[in-house]
């Protein structure tokens, strides 16, 4: 039972970790630039293995299923952020990009695996969020994660996020309100099992986008790219 997470790089690259091991390793990966670099190197030969698989050819319908599935997703074009206005430059972006890729992979793997539990949990969370907002709220789908952005008429807003991996140690998720100015911080949260409501700490105007990034514990004054998921207020 070795506990050095660096031992797990090859197994992780080969998807040979069980769910718990994978989650723990992804937590480590988010903080370990060296692992991220080594993983990128190992992933090349791993991906090459796909070409040696010699499976049959897919039916032509599969392409249509995929395109139709994509069309059915609530999906807006990615917003262009005023990157040069951000306090943090490209250096932070590279590290965060690696972390987000790892988390993104874990997140999506999780989000597809336990839809029933999540639905139950989502219903309870929506109720809680609605109570927090104390008023009629519109729900907007999240792009990049399961869940919704709820915005009340007075601009009070909450995120309900489902199936989000808990933030790695020394990290936090941070929400941002973006409306024609540099993004403004709107609250920190940790994610975790099921669905959880997060009340945003600042109002969300009708033209705004709410975005979530992964930041160091305690949060930051300006977001580190990339955006993990987001929603448009209208």
């Amino acid at each position: 039972m070795s506990s050095d997470p660096h031992d797990l790089l090859a197994a992780y690259a080969l998807d040979a970790l069980d769910d718990d091991e994978r989650e723990r390793f992804e937590g480590h990966l988010a903080d370990c630039e060296e692992c991220t670099e080594q993983l990128a190197v190992l992933r090349e030969p791993v991906a090459a293995l796909a070409y040696a698989a010699e499976g049959p050819v897919p039916r032509n319908e599969l392409r249509n299923r995929i395109i139709e599935g994509a069309r059915a997703e609530p999906r807006a074009a990615v917003i262009k952020l005023p990157r040069r206005n951000w306090a943090l430059g490209a250096v932070a972006g590279v590290a965060a990009a690696a972390a987000a890729l790892a988390i993104g992979l874990g997140l999506w793997a999780n989000s597809l695996s336990s839809s029933l539990d999540r639905e139950r949990s989502a219903n309870a969370s929506y109720r809680q969020a609605a109570e927090l907002l104390t008023g009629k709220a519109t729900a907007r789908p999240l792009v990049g994660a399961k869940g919704s952005l709820l915005v009340a008429q007075n601009g009070r807003a909450a995120l309900v996020v489902c199936g989000l991996s808990g933030a790695p140690s020394a990290k936090t998720y941070e929400a941002w309100v973006i409306s024609g100015k540099p993004p403004e911080p709107a609250g920190l949260f940790r994610g975790g099992d099921g669905c959880s409501p997060v009340l945003l700490t600042r109002p969300v105007p009708g033209n705004a986008t709410v975005a979530v990034t992964l930041e160091r514990a305690g949060g930051r004054a300006a977001p580190t790219l990339p955006i993990l998921f987001r929603a448009e207020a209208t």
């Binding site: 031992d7 010699e54 599969l62 990615v78 993104g104 992979l105 793997a109």
Partner: protein, 212 residues
């Protein structure tokens, strides 16, 4: 960099055009690289998603089928992986990985998760016969040569390194299951996989893989 981007496989999809294009895309239009396609998918470009499928759908399905040994499950795995790509393309960073690597990572993980859930693990990497309507002649040549390079490199690995890599990648075994199956300590399995992948990388580079 990407072999797939420059291979004849990609050529068959030129001529699809996005509905918002005012000028029909000419057949001489420059091919978008795999990386450009993923970045276009991040902008909700359905046509780019279709082109990625045209480039990688066959290898993705072949891989998923090999792992799952079931056509319907393999289709599900590929579809779900491509939808993950559709949703997650915004997190792709070309300085971190080739688009093909990034994309196949989703496919593999989805297939492995499915096979574990189905509890239908294979006892050994299965060899399946190609079926269905095959690729065109040029595509087949490119696909075969790429496949042969990788298969040849795999054969050159010492068996003690090849076995855990194949059982993990094609059969979805976890490292603990590998240790049990191969009757070796977990630490040995870990280091053999690591050394094996490093060696495979060198062998592939020597064979010109990925630089075509």
């Amino acid at each position: 960099m990407s072999a797939a981007a420059q291979s004849p496989i990609a050529i068959s999809v030129v001529g699809l055009r996005a509905p918002w294009n005012e000028v029909p895309m000419s057949r001489e239009a420059p091919q978008r690289t795999d990386e450009e396609l993923v970045e276009a998918v991040a902008q909700a470009d359905e046509d780019a998603l279709g082109q990625l499928y045209d480039r990688f759908g066959k290898v993705a399905y072949g891989l998923a089928y090999k792992i799952l040994q079931d056509a319907a499950l393999a289709e599900d795995a590929v579809q779900e992986a491509f939808l993950q790509i559709w949703r997650g393309a915004g997190s792709y960073r070309r300085e971190r990985a080739k688009a093909s690597t990034w994309l196949l990572t989703f496919v593999h993980r989805r297939a492995v998760d499915l096979v574990r859930r189905e509890q239908a693990r294979r006892t050994s990497p299965a060899v399946s016969e190609p079926q269905g309507s095959g690729p065109g002649a040029d595509e087949a040549v490119v696909a075969r040569s790429r496949r042969e390079i990788v298969q040849d490199a795999l054969r050159r690995l010492p068996a003690e390194q090849r076995e855990p890599i194949e059982l993990a990648y094609y059969a979805g075994l976890t490292q603990s299951e590998l240790a049990e199956r191969l009757d070796q300590p977990l630490g040995t399995i870990k280091s053999r996989m690591f050394t094996g992948l490093q060696r495979l990388r060198v062998l592939l580079a020597e064979a010109g893989y990925g630089s075509a």
